[in-house]
Every structure is written in C-alpha cells, then in structure tokens.
Symmetry: C2
Subunit: 242 residues, 2 copies
C-alpha cells in the first residue's frame, strides 16, 4: 500500500511580507517523514477568507491529509476556523468541550476566559479537537484537514497530540554520501545509478564548507537492500572521482 | 495603480522531506516588500516534472511575477528548465551566451566546462539570462517566470541581478506597537480600529520574551497619514489596557 500523502497550508500575511520566517513547515516535514507520511506540497497564503477556502478545496481533494498552521486565535485576523467551516459547508459555534479547555487553562492562571478568548472555542460542526498543552486553546480536525496554531511552540504541541492517531506509512530511510568534488563530476555516474534504480530517489546538493566545495548525494527509499546496494555503488563512484 | 503581485515556487524534494530548511522564501519576501511587489503565495513542490508544470500554469496566470528557486544545476534531478520550457510550449537547447558565461567561470578556475556543466547552459527558447556572479551558471526569465537556483548564496545573487529591472510598486510600510498583555486584551479595540481603517492591514502576533507574554500589533499600508493615525490610536489602546 502506498504511503499516506500530505499537504501543508501555512496561513499568514506575516510570512508573505517577510516579517516572520516560517518554522512550522520544516518541523512538520521532518515529523511526517519519520512516520512515513509523504509531504508533497506546502502552500503559504495570506489572511484572506476566499483564498484560504480555495486552497483548502484544492488540497483536501489531492492528499490524504492537509495540515494548516496559523490563523487561529482571538483577534480579527484569525479567520482559519471560519474558512474551514465554509470550505466544508458546515456551521461554526462556540462548543462546550472547547470552552471547558479554555476555562481550565484560565483557571490555572486564576482567571476566567474573556469573551475574546472564547472566540477560540468556536469550532466547526463535526470537528474533533486537537489538544494544546501550551496555551489551552485547541486546534481541530475536520475530515482530512487538521487545523493548528501558527506559534511554533503551540504548533509542535498540537502536532505531538495529533500524529500518534494518524495512520502511519513506511518511513522512507534517507542516507547520504559526501563527495569532495563539485556536482558536475558526480552527475554522469549518478544519473546512470538513478536510472537503474527507479525505486529509490537520488538528490544531489552542492555544499561549500570553508575551503572545501563538494556535493552531498542523498538516497531515499523504503527498501533496505536497495539502499545498501546504492550506497555501495556511490562509495565506488566516490573512489573513482576523488 | 495597484502594486505588481508575485508568487514563489520552491522546487525541491529536500525541503519536503525535512532534510533542508528553505531560506529563499523568507529572503524573497523581504526583498519584494521593500520594492512594493506584493508576494501573495508560496508553493513548495517536489522534483516532479508534471507537478512543476502544473504549478507553473496555475501561478503564471494568477500573478504579475513568478519566482522559482531550485532544480537548476548539472545533475539528473535538476529539471526546472525543462519544466519551464514545457509549461511555455517552447524548445530548450544549449545557448551560446549561456555557454560563454560557463566558459568564463571555468576559465577563472583554469579549466573548461565539462559536458555535465554545459547542461546548465540549456535555456528555453526566448528566455533572458539572469547573471550569477557566484558560480557563473545563469538563471533565466521567460515571460513572467524567473528561474533561479536553490543554493541560497546563488539565489540571492540572481535576485540582486534581476530585481532592479522589474517594475517596482509602492513599498508597503510596516509599523509595530508592542503590548505587554496577551492578544485577547487587545482583540476588541483592535478589531474596531481594523474595521474603521480598511486601507491598512492589521496583524496581531503573540510573543513570549522571558517572563513577559505580550502581543505585537503590526500595521501595514502605503498611506503615511493613515499609518500615523493608526499608530496614535494603538498607543492610546496600549495605555488603556496596560
């Protein structure tokens, strides 16, 4: 059975304006790779209702899972929950279980949630909550769309709560061979090896490390024997070009 | 006249697998904001010909400019130039001016380009070259698509060569007010101000800075008077909630 697939939708004007460097896509990519869910696409879109709804339509039909980050919170620019409700054609309202989570978090600080904080308990009909042990305000899953916060510490907490419940695939193992020659020197034999081994994917990445200019070749796949053979062949190539 | 718009297409399995954290989107976002070109979307896609062609079709029709990074180089996984040629329905071949740039760069190292390096002189018909003073191998522009390298130092060099030739817009100024209270406390008056001032965009971003938990409100727009008024009102709000 092929691995589950995934797309990520990053919601936020602050990323597109260059104010903030997104950290969540990189974190999600590593976490999904580790459990054998193949991340196939990332999109970054602004805080614009229609654009978010359009992207949700495109992505949820194309992939097993869609993970979103950003746009949930108490302020006017937090419009992700409403956009998800609109994309699924369902209602949205403050829900008792989400409100209870906010009340618990507020109680730990000796307060009660303000009306503005209760906005974060507005959950689309039919969604399942995603726990958040950092700030209390939950994310949620609706169908194959998982809606999480943009603040990196909260995004990570929500992903930790969500991932164990998703069906894992076969983790793709990744191995590397470092060549201390430029990419062009490796290109010919690498192309031949890649064509002969279509079940593995081969990437070639130039690096420069102080005075050394070189190439890292990354091999990825799920078959350990094929990976062993490919690494052995890459070591031969390395001896030949060094 | 509204500002030119832009999308970015990041091409690379290594970003989606979590091996590499993309740096070019953040750099491009800041550079475009400074010249008044509005970055509206970023997509990250794998080294897959059909997926790249599909994304190019979608993005070049939707935005004034499309900037790509990654997938140009001498190895088998460098397929961006062919995908761009296919998306535009034009041929691709080694071009004399691009070959001359590679020969110059090789001559500075006392060599000549290898056949594999000459792959980097394959340019779609009708494209304009983008200079690269780091490694010599050029990027190119075809129509509204600007094809650049994924290695950050080369991406930046190509963007420096490209940007001055593109029509600039009105840079959107960005100002911030820092509140030492949580987002919920700011949400009500901020929503009112945002609704009253539709020509500006208001973003609210929680931060935690040691013991201080607070909110940065970012206001963006092109009208200095409106920005001054908004900042004055935000300072009033700050005094009221502190």
């Amino acid at each position: 059975m092929p691995n589950p697939t995934a797309a990520m939708l990053v919601i936020g004007d602050e990323i597109l304006s260059g104010r903030t460097r997104d950290a969540n896509a990189y974190h999600l990519a590593g976490q999904l790779t580790a459990v054998g869910i193949d991340l196939r696409e990332v999109r970054v879109v602004p805080d614009d209702h229609d654009v978010i709804v359009g992207a949700l339509h495109a992505l949820r039909d194309g992939y097993t899972h869609v993970f979103t980050s950003g746009g949930i919170g108490p302020t006017h620019d937090d419009i992700a929950a409403d956009a998800v409700a609109a994309a699924f054609g369902v209602g949205i309202a403050v829900r008792d279980d989400a409100r209870a989570l906010l009340e618990e978090a507020a109680a730990r600080r000796g307060t009660v949630p303000s009306p503005e904080q209760l906005r974060m308990a507005r959950i689309p009909d039919g969604a399942t909550l995603i726990a958040n042990d950092v700030s209390g305000a939950p994310g949620f899953s609706l169908g194959n769309v998982h809606v999480m916060a943009g603040v990196p510490s909260i995004f990570r907490a929500m992903l930790d709560a969500l991932l164990p419940g998703l069906q894992a695939g076969v983790p793709r193992e990744s191995r590397e061979v470092r060549f201390e020659v430029g990419e062009s020197r490796v290109a010919g034999p690498l192309r031949e090896l890649a064509e002969r081994t279509p079940a593995l994917s081969f990437g070639s990445y130039p690096f420069s490390d102080g005075q050394v200019r070189g190439t890292t070749v990354v091999v990825r796949g799920t078959d350990a024997t094929l990976l062993d053979d490919a690494i052995a062949r890459l070591e031969e190539i390395r001896r030949a070009v060094s």
